[in-house]
């Protein structure tokens, strides 16, 4: 009796151990390192991206290619000086399988550098630095958002088509501002316009009065600008208060009026901006996305939530193609490149350099919405300058 009992115990234990081992092999959790700003100026953007990412995951029943997902979160504080340490911690100490991040371009560049060295899959859900899918491009680096060049170039085309001849540009002197304005110049001058004045001020200086006076003295036909967040609010208000809104029309990259309309109030009314998303897309995917997002988070989604959602889609497409095995990097990239991504912004694909090839929309501020007015530039692809892949 005793022997029988002993034997059953042994068998049962062995079986349990075996099945445990087998289980571990097929469905080890997928570790996703979320490196996003959870504090500071960009905190709300980081949260929107995470919400979007998790919404897609929930829609897939919490699993990607059969693997459960475990998150390791790091607050990058939008601080480039801490970026390399933070990425290294995620990759080397926490052994994450995938990196997702971030908002700030300087931090994203540090992430791209580590991803390039270690071969970890990186999906950038916002940062627009041209170099991420330009000089830094790699088979394992993807972007679900945009390059700074894209909205600028599209707006340049639109303004040239409107017959505007002389434009002054104004922005912060840092990567995002410089690259957006460079894109604008390219599109605008191709269409026959001239940029008569390039104005800039150090980031994040918000004392615009001197430059506004300079604009009034230059008397251009229109002004193109890149500002975001608090700076965008102040610029739009100062521009209107200086009486320039009535005499010199203001155009901008979409970030000028995204997430800032409540604060800008009536001073933003009527402004035209270009971006890869608008508040009223009128396509079924966007409608269902907005409904699900609002239901889950009791918040209206924004462009950042869409980018987070699409980052999860890119990951899912790649993982599915390789059956959850991330060591097959080439197959992963191939599958992502070949698939149309069904985004709330409208379907898009990724270029060879892994930046979205997407429609850039022309939007106008109507009330508290960035209303879709049409397509500014269809299937616009970033030139991916300096990418050797």
């Amino acid at each position: 009796m005793k022997a029988v009992f002993f034997r059953t115990t042994v068998i049962a234990t062995a079986a349990a151990l075996l099945s445990g081992a087998a289980l571990a092999q097929t469905s080890a959790k997928l570790k996703v390192g979320l490196m996003l700003p959870y504090t500071g100026t960009f905190a709300s953007l980081g949260n929107a991206i995470e919400n979007g990412f998790k919404l897609y995951l929930t829609e897939q029943g919490g699993k990607l290619a059969g693997r459960e997902v475990e998150f390791v979160k790091v607050d990058d504080e939008s601080d480039p000086s801490k970026a390399t340490d933070n990425v290294n911690k995620l990759v080397k100490r926490d052994n994450v399988d995938v990196l997702v991040g971030t908002v700030h371009s300087g931090v994203a560049m540090a992430m791209a550098k580590v991803a390039k060295e270690t071969g970890t899959v990186l999906i950038v859900p916002n940062a627009g630095a041209d170099a991420v899918t330009g000089a830094m491009c790699a088979p394992n680096i993807f972007r679900s958002s945009f390059s700074n060049w894209q909205p600028g170039y599209a707006m340049g085309e639109v303004m040239a088509k409107k017959g505007i001849k002389k434009v002054a540009t104004i922005t912060w002197k840092y990567a995002a501002g410089d690259e957006t304005v460079r894109g604008f110049k390219e599109g605008f001058e191709k269409g026959g316009g001239t940029v008569v004045k390039d104005l800039s001020l150090p980031f994040p200086n918000v004392e615009f009065q001197a430059l506004l006076t300079d604009i009034a003295a230059t008397k251009p036909d229109a002004v193109f600008t890149f500002f975001a967040g608090g700076g965008a609010v102040k610029f739009v208000k100062d521009y209107a208060a200086a009486g320039l809104k009535k005499t010199i029309p203001l155009y901008g990259s979409g970030f000028l009026t995204d997430g800032t309309l409540d604060a800008q109030g009536s001073d933003a009314e009527g402004l035209f901006t270009a971006l890869h998303y608008a508040d009223s897309m009128e396509i079924p995917k966007d409608k269902s996305f907005r409904l699900a997002y609002a239901k889950t988070y009791k918040l209206q989604p924004d462009v950042y939530a869409v980018q987070g959602y699409d980052a999860a889609q890119i990951l899912a497409i790649g993982l599915k193609a390789v059956g959850g095995d991330l060591s097959k990097k080439a197959e992963f990239a191939k599958a992502v490149e070949a698939t149309k991504i069904d985004s709330p912004r409208g379907a898009f694909s990724l270029s060879k350099a892994h930046n979205p090839v997407q429609d850039i929309y022309l939007r106008q501020v109507v009330g508290k919405e960035n209303k879709l007015m049409g397509i500014a530039s269809k299937d616009l692809a970033d030139p991916a300058r300096g990418c050797k892949m």
């Binding site: 009034a216 009486g243 604060a263």
Partner: protein, 293 residues
């Protein structure tokens, strides 16, 4: 640059300079006169801006609203808060080394930012200019100038004058100045220096909060806004000469001119011009323009 544009830029410079003085004036008191390196000054300023945004609807509901009522409530709250902060934290700092002051006040920045995030959230907000000041004046053929900016300039001048008179012409001012040069001596003369400093600190904080509230309609309200003013405030106080209100006003105006014309004439160097100015002035006068005492 033709003459009319030149004059408009001069107005811009003057206006920016006065705004800088307004923002830095609380620091003149706490760092300049009391001698505490207060990195949390920017947070006080931010608090003021957020008060202008968050208190307005509450004040409107309880007292019937109004710009000045909100200002009054905000200043009242900040005096109380300043009094408590001095008692709980800053009163331990006067005799300590600068490094410890920096550590403590840096810690306070983190606490205030986090509290702000919890209480009001991380969104950007705008504050409406009060209706009776929302007009604009025509300026040249293209531009208009907001009346509210002129109002701010007026407020700055009044504040500067008020501070100057209190510190140089009144008995209270004399006691405060005496306290900053020799604490023990003042105490032995029978003046309650602890209480006096608590009041001065509360006033310094209230001025910073007041500056934030007045500036909110033109600066808008956003996370991290305190950090952006902190450094320039220290530059103002250091150029002006530590403890000198006259100096701070002059320094603020100088910075206004350099920054405004720098942005237009030397845009590549606009970011460093102010610091070049500071370096030059400190080479010429290592104690700043007017050293007090």
């Amino acid at each position: 640059m033709d003459l009319s544009i030149f004059f408009i830029q001069c107005l811009n410079a003057l206006q920016y300079g006065l705004l800088l003085f307004l923002v830095a004036s609380g620091l003149t008191l706490i760092f300049g006169i009391m001698g505490v390196i207060n990195l949390a000054h920017g947070s006080f300023y931010m608090m003021g801006a957020y008060m202008a945004y968050a208190l307005a609807p509450i004040v409107a509901a309880t007292f019937g609203g109004g710009f000045f009522a909100t200002l009054l409530v905000g200043v009242g709250l900040s005096v109380a808060l300043g009094y408590v902060l001095e008692w709980a934290f800053f009163s331990f700092l006067y005799e300590r080394e600068h490094l410890q002051q920096v550590l403590m006040t840096y810690g306070l920045i983190l606490v205030f930012e986090e509290l702000r995030s919890i209480l009001v959230g991380d969104d950007v907000h705008g504050v409406e200019v009060p209706a009776f000041l929302s007009g604009t004046l025509p300026l040249g053929e293209m531009m208009t100038y907001p009346v509210y900016r002129l109002f701010i300039s007026g407020v700055c001048l009044l504040l500067a004058l008020g501070m100057y008179v209190v510190f140089t012409r009144t008995r209270l001012g004399m006691m405060i100045r005496a306290g900053s040069s020799n604490r023990e001596m003042v105490q032995s003369l029978g003046i309650d220096i602890k209480f006096l400093y608590r009041v001065v600190f509360a006033a310094g904080m209230a001025i910073a909060v007041f500056a934030g509230m007045v500036a909110a309609p033109v600066s808008s309200v956003y996370p991290g806004m305190g950090d952006t003013v902190l450094i320039i405030c220290f530059v103002v106080v250091v150029i002006g000469g530590i403890g000198s209100i006259r100096g701070a006003l002059l320094a603020a105006l100088l910075i206004g001119v350099v920054d405004t014309f720098g942005k237009v004439l030397l845009p590549q160097a606009a970011g460093v011009l102010v610091y070049v100015l500071m370096a030059l002035i400190l080479l010429w006068k290592p104690d700043g323009l007017f050293k007090a005492g």
